[in-house]
Amino acid sequence: MGSPVQGAVGLAAGQSSVGPDGAAPTRRGTELLLLGFAAFVVSAALMLVEANQEQQLTLRIVWYGLAFLALFGGAHVAVRKFAPYADPLILPCVAVLNGLGLVMIYRIDLAMTERALRLGREINNDVPRQILWTTISLLLFLAVLIVIKDHRKLTKYAYTFGLVGLILLALPAFLPSFIAPTINGAKIWLRVGPISIQPGEFAKILLLTFFAGFLVSKRDLFMAAGRRVLGVDLPRARDLGPILFAWGVSVGVLVFQKDLGTSLLFFGTILVMLYVATERGVWVAVGMVLFVGGAIVAYQLFGHVQQRVANWIDPLATYDDPGGGFQIAQGLFGLGTGGVGGTGLGAGRPDLVPLANTDFIPAAIGEELGFIGLAALLMVYTVLALRGMRSALAVRDTFGKLLGGGLSFLLIMQVFVVVGGVTKLIPMTGLTAPFLSYGGSSLLANYILVALLLRISDAARRPQTGVRPRPVPQAPIAEAHTVMVQRPDPERPA
């Protein structure tokens, strides 16, 4: 990894442009160290699986660990070169999530292989494909970092993104089923030859980018208040356009694709962005009303929504119904059996839960790593999303703030919907856990998301060259001793 030179240069560059108001180290060393730690954690997890599954423990694991480190080392080098001031925690968080996901998918593959052998079925392993997807995702990640040198440039293409996003989202619903098949009740896939993709995963990010750009350009309009009723400033009717648009898209996804998860995710994120852009809580209230209305209508109209709600209220009661609570109940059995400490990686039976390596991967982790493991995982997601949020707070341009905040919220909202669905906090809606679950589209889309967050965080922490920091008013030398006296800041109310 020819990084020492790179690092030295990066560090030197950082130091050379340090302003008088404080140093801005790049922290790439921290990132590399944490990536090493992530590789260690993932290798240890793989070793546990191998030991518990009575596979032979060989030096292979060391090679896998090194290969993993090399893969993310490559990403690290790219960050060093193309986003040297990016947040140092984001990439290691992604690495540990992606790595543990691979271990878990491999672990479920082992169980499925055993089952296939027993039943004389065809063996169909997912982990080699997921490794391939990870590699492609990292390449895409690299491409995004290279192509998008400044996230603000994205505003120029906001409407294009919006249009493409909308088309991608709608595509599966309107294509014939030989190319857009219905899988697990949802019509969200495109199948081209051996490859299946979910265009909706990419549409989410495109639409988010569009909304960020759109809201920034029209921000002033939404800030203007309409009539005041009972002390609340109601928005003007004509300003309801964007939220109605978002609502319409969400309902469309729900009706035509039967994809509750994406619908919920999309609407929630847009709502939050609208709130951030306008700084007015009334939008949240309007959104909630629309959401509740939509939810009630959906419940009345769709049998599958009613079934999901019934499964949520008591999965054990609907256990035997077709489309009933069997899957959620199995997930809960797994979580319960795991208890606090879990059964140990490779020592549980996560394969008893259908879709264990996609939607129900949190149940598999909760079973084998216990509450402790699941909580740790949630913490990694939290750190990842909060670092994104921090970058959004620190970045200077409003578009960056809005995009960064939206992407960070999108991430945690996905986690909330998936983990909440599996643990019966909310009705199951069917989404993949970011970076953990098996699935190429989700992985690719989430790597784009992370590349954008890294880009924004790089912009946030990069010292502003060209623009001189405003000179701090200096007291005359003669009065220097009076500087020691603390005065109350006249602009800040006590």
């Binding site: 700084e279 319960g336 059996t337 949630l378 409003t398 643990t423």
Partner: protein, 493 residues
């Protein structure tokens, strides 16, 4: 814009806290409910996939496991399955477990508290927990001889052999037997096929006749009557009636030969009465000592004990109707006459009958029958050893000695093969009538014995569900009983 961003950050944290709180509820508070839900296969799979302990007898391994590549990881295997099936029982994912597999499940699956320290060290070293091993008191040579003798002639029945001094069970045979291996198969279809075949077999191969079935003891019960009478002050040389019949209600109780018991004598000594198995004599004796004393002696010998575990549960043996707590109460005078010859409501397990002769052999002190000698850790180090356990004195030593002398005379009058020079056996045969039409229904042929008579090392009870209407205990069962005794004594222990 930063204020709403901070608020959104706070909302994100709230969402995570909600998830954590809910996960706590599911994985900690509700965990046990989910773990124990009958629809959760995990616990069962976990138990069935553990390396189950071995069942050993002497140098023989009766049950062991073989590693497999499937999800249950270990396949239970029984060497010589049918021979030891009454002891080991079976272990099936689908049909549960029986025998020792069930009675000592906690040791065998490793969850017993005595294995705790080892489990803990397994946890730390990351080894899969393994089950402990069970070493039995069974003498393989004796078990083999008894089983072969029964199986050779296709008899249904049971042989139980005890060490009279310690209560150790030396043999526990039940025929026809079954092979427990297919029931332990990992292939559910194979399990089901074997299970249905065994269940639907009219010869009831899975029934452990030694401890789970009771038989009318017939003349072997005369030992209990004699013991009661001697304890009551009688002597083996005292004269008892030898009459040809006793009126029992509307019908009559007669001797086997339909006439007087010994030629034309009106009385015989109790010793001769036992040797000739006079029915009228013991019916009268039972009547004379009374139901209360007969019940008390029966109880001292273990009859009526409802919760005996060896460690498998043994069904209750009774002298009265088992309903309404009547197990030790002979209902009336007529029943008392019939009880004196081991008929009517008297029903004993083969193990119980073996215990009676073992108690006589042990000078009147009854020892608790037990099947487990030692419990061994997975590494074969000893965790627990079972000591002999006295259940109290049922009769005085002199009573036991008189009974022994009577039984030696009885053995002299008993036919069948297997008598050897220089070995003195004390025995009693019995031919119990069965069914509503006893004269045309094949009887149960009994033989209870111990040997050597002067220093008893083995006590046996043999019962054969005879197919021959004319069969008597001597012809069928004595041969099997002696084969069992000879095999054990030849084994040098």
């Amino acid at each position: 814009m930063n204020t709403p961003l901070r608020r959104v950050g706070l909302a994100m944290l709230t969402m995570v806290v909600l998830l954590l709180a809910n996960a706590t509820y599911i994985q900690i508070i509700k965990a046990d409910d989910y773990r124990k839900d009958p629809r959760n296969q995990r616990v069962l799979l976990e138990e069935y996939s553990r390396e189950r302990g071995k069942i050993l007898a002497g140098d023989n391994v009766l049950a062991t496991v073989q590693g497999t590549n499937d999800r249950l990881r270990y396949l239970r295997q029984y060497t010589n399955g049918p021979l030891y099936a009454p002891v080991t029982g079976f272990y099936s994912q689908r049909y549960g477990a029986s025998g020792l597999e069930r009675a000592e499940d906690e040791i065998l699956n490793g969850s017993d508290d005595r294995l705790f320290v080892r489990r803990l060290s397994d946890l730390i070293t990351g080894r899969d927990p393994r089950g402990g091993n069970i070493e039995l008191t069974i003498s393989p040579a004796t078990q083999q001889a008894a089983y072969a003798a029964m199986d050779k002639q296709g008899f249904a029945g049971s042989v139980v052999a005890l060490n009279p001094k310690t209560g150790e069970i030396l043999a526990m045979v039940s025929t026809p037997s079954y092979d427990p291996n297919p029931l332990a198969a990992h292939d559910g279809k194979a399990q089901e096929k074997a299970w249905l075949a065994y269940r639907d077999d009219p010869r009831k191969p899975v029934l452990n006749r030694a401890i789970a079935e009771t038989y009318a003891p017939g003349s072997t019960f005369k030992l209990v009557v004699a013991a009661t009478a001697i304890e009551d002050g009688k002597n083996k040389d005292d004269q008892v009636t030898a009459t040809d019949k006793i009126a029992v209600g509307a019908s009559e109780l007669r001797n086997y030969n339909r006439g007087f018991c010994n030629g034309s004598q009106s009385t015989v000594s109790m010793e001769t009465a036992l040797a000739l198995s006079c029915n009228t004599a013991f019916a009268q004796l039972a009547h004379d000592v009374g139901a209360k004393k007969l019940g008390a002696m029966s109880a001292m010998l273990g009859i009526g004990e409802a919760d005996l575990k060896v460690p498998m549960s043994v069904v209750q043996s009774c002298i009265g109707p088992s309903a309404d707590n009547g197990c030790l109460r002979v209902v009336d005078e007529n029943a008392l006459y019939q009880s004196g010859i081991g008929q009517r409501d008297v029903r004993l397990t083969p193990l119980q009958n073996a215990e009676i002769v073992a108690t006589i052999a042990n000078g009147g002190e009854r020892m608790k029958p037990q099947l487990v000698k030692t419990i061994l850790a997975p590494d074969l180090s000893e965790i627990a050893r079972f000591d002999e356990d006295s259940l109290g004195r049922a009769m005085s030593r002199s009573t036991a000695e008189q009974l022994r002398d009577m039984m030696i005379q009885s053995e002299a009058k008993t036919g069948g093969d297997g008598k050897t020079n220089g070995l003195s056996i004390a025995s009693k045969t019995g031919t119990a009538e069965t069914g509503n039409d006893p004269k045309n229904t094949p009887p149960f042929a009994w033989y209870v014995a111990f040997a050597p008579a002067d220093d008893p090392k083995i006590a046996v009870a043999v019962v054969v569900e005879s197919r021959d209407v004319a069969a008597t205990g001597g012809k069928l069962s004595a041969t099997i009983g002696r084969a069992t005794i000879n095999a054990f004594l030849a084994g040098g222990s």
